[in-house]
Symmetry: C2
Subunit: 196 residues, 2 copies
Amino acid sequence: MTNKDEKIKSSIIKAAENLFQKYGINKTTMEDIAKESRKAKSTLYYYFKNKEEIFDAVLIKEMNEIFQIVKDAVSVEKDFEGKMRAYVITDLREIKKRVNLYSIVKSEIVYDEHFIKKFRESFDTRDVNFITEIIEYGVKNQELRPLTDDEIKTLSHIILIAFRSIELDLFIEHKFLNDDEKIDSLLNILYYGIKK
Amino acid sequence: MTNKDEKIKSSIIKAAENLFQKYGINKTTMEDIAKESRKAKSTLYYYFKNKEEIFDAVLIKEMNEIFQIVKDAVSVEKDFEGKMRAYVITDLREIKKRVNLYSIVKSEIVYDEHFIKKFRESFDTRDVNFITEIIEYGVKNQELRPLTDDEIKTLSHIILIAFRSIELDLFIEHKFLNDDEKIDSLLNILYYGIKK
DNA sequence: TATCGACTAAAATACGTATTTAGTCTATTT
DNA sequence: AAATAGACTAAATACGTATTTTAGTCGATA
């Protein structure tokens, strides 16, 4: 039964989540995950191809949770400015939370080429599309001056890049742009730049 | 004589520069640098504290050269828009050149925490200040709407972050925003956002 | 089909040794 | 004294091998 399958899968993910938060990826063995989820180690391979796939599942789960929370916060707002502010503030807040929860994992992956590339590839497209939607909403709503599809595409990329790098700063060290005042300033510049 | 000192120092730097470009940091030994600059290995330590200081000197030299070229290109332009465009395009072009020259060094350091941190710290302040100058010029010149010191500071940070991340994309893989059209688009958004 | 225990192969770790290389110290030259 | 070099030391790297750990497989079984 696929439903039961999914339940066990997510119980394994939950177990791994706990262990990764406590001990990081490297010090968490498949044996550990097996014990925590009360299965034999070999059983884990019935549900997941390998350890990396389990980690990916944990990461995807967290990212999906963030995305859902951000989406909800954005949908509540009724204008472009509100939506954009909700997007940025909610996303940063949720990322911050996870960075604290996964501090060991963070130190294992921030400077790991493989993970960084995978991380970027998996989520960039989805996030760019989401930002595109917000901008298109603003244009349709006559809040923003008319923009060509190409302009919107470029703009979405730029906004994503800008926020990704703010997140990176947040990852590497708590440098600047972590307070709401500065986010407001950033949004202000953006808004009056593309306003009708 | 300090003048002669500087000459020998820069001849050592020049030698190291060549070797780093050919073989990278790790495969270039102090012995190699000594031979190339026709000194005994121990003599190098009369001029530099250690190998890292030699590498730093090479990096600083390259960065200063870029900064000078960018500064010159910017000073030629007579308005904010031109200065800003000159800044971005020249900086990216010069960085690209160096990335090709130092491709081995690049692969040794892109994912090295220590170097990345040092790199950021050394040059961020200077570059932020330079961007600040350009913005202040635009305000004084009545091209930009009046901005508070705090707004200018934040704005400079944001612009630097945005361009640093574009450079990073350029480092990691040639993704997007490497053609002039997109840079124009970015500058356009920025400009009409802070225009008077 | 879902689970497990036993198994294997591969990877990580440990360790002793040899070699290379960074960095120091002292003597000597200019 | 300022600058250089050669001899020296200590630290890092490389290497071979033995040992252990851990990821991942397989066949049995309920």
